[in-house]
Amino acid sequence: MGLFYHIGRYFILLFRVFAKPEKFSIYYRETLKEVQKLGINSMGIVVIISVFMGAVITIQTAYNTENPLLPTYLIGLGTRDSMILEFSSTIVALILAGKIGSNIASEIGTMRVTEQIDALEIMGVNSASYLILPKILASVFFAPLLCIFSMFVGITGGWLAGISVGVVTTENYVYGIQYAFIPFYITYSLIKIIVFAFLITTISAYHGYYATGGSLEVGRSSTKAVVHSSIFILLFNLILTQLLLS
């Protein structure tokens, strides 16, 4: 089916998602559950990946700046900017697309093929809003926290690797991460991750919500959710970078 068909259906779904909730207390409760499921449960993987990426960036920067004319504090600066500008927003979003995107698509897809969504509709519940809105709120609220957490952990990982390998001293690294710091980079990164979180949740939910058939199709919708979320993250990364940094 055509691209425009999917875009149209995606926006129709969003229109239903943002309808007035039946009961705020239930949506609040569901949102908290989703914060746990989509946000807090993702912290482990974000920590592991950020520490190692921070470490690798530090070592790579050190080897690429092996020149007596270049100060070693540039290693801290490079790690800081790499983490803040790109890794903690875009790469973390791509990782989350794999983790929570597939989770959302398979959960909603299974509900669709086992008629649980029909059961909600029969009761008079706006199933799109009930199932998707708490996930959007949870991810949009929690993703910036994950991003900040990733920045902190990644820069710390870089410092640990730098002093362990002996390519930089603590003093120079700390000086480097403070040198020529532009606070807007943090804002830029947070704006990006909020947009990415919205894209991951809604695209994955779309694929799950319109899944048809059986378990095989649920698996397919889950794969499509990850692939399409990743593509849109990369596309919006380009658009937002051009809009915010140029």
């Binding site: 039946e22 009961k23 239930i26 299974t110 509900m111 086992t114 008629e115 649980q116 029909d118 059961a119 509709e121 029969i122 009761m123 008079g124 519940v125 706006n126």
Partner: protein, 253 residues
């Protein structure tokens, strides 16, 4: 009472329902029977509004359901209970939470009131000491009974059951059939059951509608079903019945 007038429904080029006219009576168990692929599930799902119909009217006690707007339909649906083929219980919720769900969503009851009502419904379907179990931890028959308990939690006026006996052993199937009939009479509901099980027809069928190739081929009572000369219906009864007695009755086919 639910009245279906000239209902037609197609998917792409395939016309599944062709100008179906039928009245489902209040306080009775109305059965839709037919072969797989005859259109009976599409008919049921069209009546409850899960499918948009191409033409025709679905009238719930003088209210044309398919002409209501989204908000009005939502209100109307609070009077509808439905039992799905697989139960459609929410996997992430316990038995009690499943039954309490419509109460949580649409009533201002206190937690203890909701719990009492849920327990009352569960007791009505003979589910005891299973409140904290998850759907994955209970049997198929229990799932169906929990789904019935959830469907009646808000005292609906209309009950729809899609193949309530599928996947159940004959003994459990009889329990579910009896339960549907008892609840229909007790709550004075309009109940529509979609089935191809002739035992259900004999057990609970106050009114029977036979759908064949998307058309209403025959309607009548379960007693009249043995007097009909409708060839397709007779073939269906003979083929779908395991009862030797029924086979003998229809043995001349």
């Amino acid at each position: 009472m639910i009245e279906v007038k000239n209902l037609s429904k197609s998917f792409s080029t395939a016309q599944v329902l062709k100008k179906v006219n039928v009245i489902f009576e209040k306080g009775k168990t109305n059965l839709i029977i037919g072969q797989s692929g005859s259109g009976k599930t599409v008919l049921l799902k069209s009546i409850v509004g899960l499918h948009e119909v191409d033409e025709g009217k679905i009238v719930y006690d003088n209210v044309v359901f398919n002409e209501l707007n989204f908000k009005e339909k939502k209100e109307m649906r609070k009077q509808i209970g439905m039992l799905f083929q697989g139960g459609a219980l929410f996997d992430s919720a316990t038995v009690e939470e499943n039954v309490m769900y419509p109460l949580d969503m649409f009533t201002e009851m206190t937690k203890s009131q909701k719990r009492d009502r849920a327990n009352e419904c569960l007791k009505r379907v003979n589910i005891i000491n299973a409140n904290n179990l998850y759907p994955a931890e209970i049997s198929g028959g229990m799932k169906k009974r929990v789904a019935i308990a959830r469907a009646i939690a808000l005292n609906p006026k209309y009950l729809f059951c899609d193949e309530p006996n599928s996947g159940l052993d004959p003994q459990t199937a009889i329990v579910i059939d009896d339960l549907i009939k008892e609840i229909t009479e007790e709550y004075n509901m309009t109940t529509i059951v979609n089935t191809h099980d002739m035992n259900s027809v004999m057990e609970i069928g106050d009114k029977v509608v036979f759908i064949y190739k998307g058309e209403k081929w025959w309607e009548g009572s379960k007693d009249e079903i043995f007097e009909t000369n409708n060839e397709e219906l007779n073939k269906f009864i003979f083929a779908s019945s395991l009862s030797q007695e029924i086979r003998k009755l229809k043995g001349n086919i």
